[in-house]
Amino acid sequence: MSTDHRAGRPQPDERLAEALASAVEAMIDYELDAEARQVVHDTVGRHQALAQRLRAVPLTNADEPDFMFVPYRAEG
């Protein structure tokens, strides 16, 4: 977990979690109650932890994602 030594400021991860949770609320057409908001916040936090564990797997620029994309051309 990264640390931010600037006194009085939330941890960068906490700021990201807050920002992403707010982004979710901005995307939906209804209001969340406090309990739901907390669930979203906590889940976003777990996603951050997931992302950190994925970052621990070393990858190079040459490691491509397993997409399936084939250019399309209609018959004829």
Binding site: V24, M27, I28, V39, T43, L50, A51, R55, D63, P65
Partner: protein, 466 residues
């Protein structure tokens, strides 16, 4: 008809049909009746497709009488997990917001089974949206919690999900076979908890056209039956490329293959296979290993080191956010049955794209590493699940600790590998335990052959709850 006919395998039913000891119509009426009475007790049924079933049964009967035999599935009644589109009937996805949803044509799998002469008798219950919203307890379906037919009167327990109705209906002898789906565990879990045989094919073996998508790169459709042999017969009917699904492979598939093996198998046993499992699960697994040692070699192996559960979670979250964006942003998600399902998926809307893509990059490494490991084996072996089915009113995490379980489930699904789950005994509360064979990509016939020989030597698959 003998009362046990409803527990017959496809092969046995086919023999009865061809010897005219029963007819497609008679068999269909039997299963329609059992769906409406027995299977409903387990919340296994969404819609009984009676009109279509009788029409197909009459047609099958006429064809067989005229000497036209479409093959092993001709006249066999089957049930479809209710994420498969069937023209003229609702396709609910197990979720209240979609209870009246209909589609104008059959899913490819449904069409292929019709062409094989099988008789569709029901749309079967499932966990809402195939479990993608993160349900944590059994009551997560518009048809109620799926219940395994085993010990249902004395110790009602969860059927497993998300193909809950498919598992229960096969175990209850209410269908000849069923089609389920698996993104991460949704065929093998109900197969295990309902004491039946379930096959998760290689990703791309079966067309997904007309099936609800939870995760486009993880979803697989597969047979749920009363034997491994039956799974092979069904897969042969539904496999193959499809212009409507660009991921469906052109690789040929046939069952039985020329020369089904009876011995000489190479098995790899995961070193952490029995970590955190219930004592009876461990005991039954070790007994299974003794059987497998009679038909091949058994070596201890370990999975390559990767964050399998994390990769699978991120891929699912990224894709379900796209698949159900409208449901979540509109607020219709609040109509889902399980309270946690109304909220848990929302955070996926904010999953950064680079995190999802990183998961796909790691996925490529996983696929190659697993294939290198599995090149030396016909199957990796492990208990399908660490426990028997949880009590019906209990949250899953209260019944077992999932943090210690083997990562083979996540690994196999990330890499799109085939797997077959077969019953291998009984455990706590008299409920079934299960053994899994996981194969190399496109190695369905290796795992099915091994499972078939195991079943010939053990007969657990011939035990039925009703």
């Amino acid at each position: 008809m003998a009362r046990e006919i409803y527990n017959s395998t496809i092969a046995e039913l086919g023999a009865l049909l061809r010897s005219r000891e029963t007819t497609p119509t008679e068999l269909t009426r039997l299963y329609l009746e059992r769906l409406d009475t027995v299977a409903r007790r387990y919340n296994a049924v969404v819609t009984i497709t009676e009109e279509r079933a009788l029409r197909e049964a009459v047609a099958a009967e006429a064809e067989m009488r005229a000497g036209y035999d479409r093959g092993p599935l001709h006249g066999i009644p089957w049930g479809a997990k209710d994420l498969l589109a069937v023209e003229g009937y609702p396709t609910t996805w197990g979720a209240p917001p979609y209870r009246d949803q209909t589609f104008g044509s059959d899913a490819t799998v449904v069409r292929r089974l019709r062409d094989a002469g099988a008789v569709l008798v029901a749309k079967l219950g499932m966990v809402e949206l195939a479990g993608g919203m993160g349900y944590k307890q059994p009551n997560a379906s518009l048809t109620g919690p799926g219940i395994t037919p085993w010990q249902a009167d004395t110790s009602p327990s969860w059927s497993g999900g998300s193909s809950s109705g498919s598992g229960s209906a096969v175990a209850a002898g209410a269908v000849g076979f069923a089609i389920g789906s698996e993104t991460w565990g949704s065929i093998v879990t109900p197969a295990a908890f309902c004491g039946i045989t379930g096959l998760r094919p290689t990703y791309g073996r079966v067309s997904r056209h007309g099936a609800m998508a939870l995760s486009w790169t993880l979803d697989k459709l597969g047979p749920m039956c009363r034997s491994a042999e039956d799974c092979g017969l069904v897969l042969a009917a539904i496999a193959g490329d499809d212009p409507a699904d660009g991921t469906a492979s052109r690789r040929e598939y046939a069952w039985p293959p020329a020369g089904v093996r009876a011995k000489g198998f190479r098995f790899g046993v995961l070193s952490d296979a029995t970590v955190g499992v219930q004592p009876e699960v461990r005991a039954n697994f070790e007994a299974s290993l003794s059987v497998l040692e009679e038909i091949g070699t058994v070596e201890v192996v370990s999975l390559p080191e990767f964050p399998y559960n994390d990769v699978a979670s991120v891929i699912i979250q990224g894709e379900l956010a796209a698949a159900f964006e409208d449901l979540m942003t509109s607020g219709d998600v609040r109509e889902l049955t399980a309270p946690e399902d109304r909220i848990n998926g929302l955070a996926a809307l904010a999953l950064p794209a680079h995190v999802y893509i990183r998961a796909l990059r790691i996925r490529r490494l996983i696929c190659r590493a697993l294939d290198e490991l599995m090149a030396g084996y016909d199957a990796l072996i492990a208990p399908t699940l660490p426990t028997v089915a949880s009590p019906i009113g209990e949250a899953f995490d209260r019944y077992f600790d999932r943090s210690n379980r083997s990562a083979i489930g996540a690994a196999a699904n990330i890499a799109g590998l085939p797997g077959v789950a077969v019953p291998n005994g009984f455990g706590e509360r008299g409920l079934p335990t299960s053994l899994s064979f996981v194969g190399r990509a496109w190695g369905e016939n290796d795992v099915l052959a091994a499972a078939h020989v195991y079943q010939q030597r053990t007969h657990w698959h011939q035990r039925h709850p009703l």
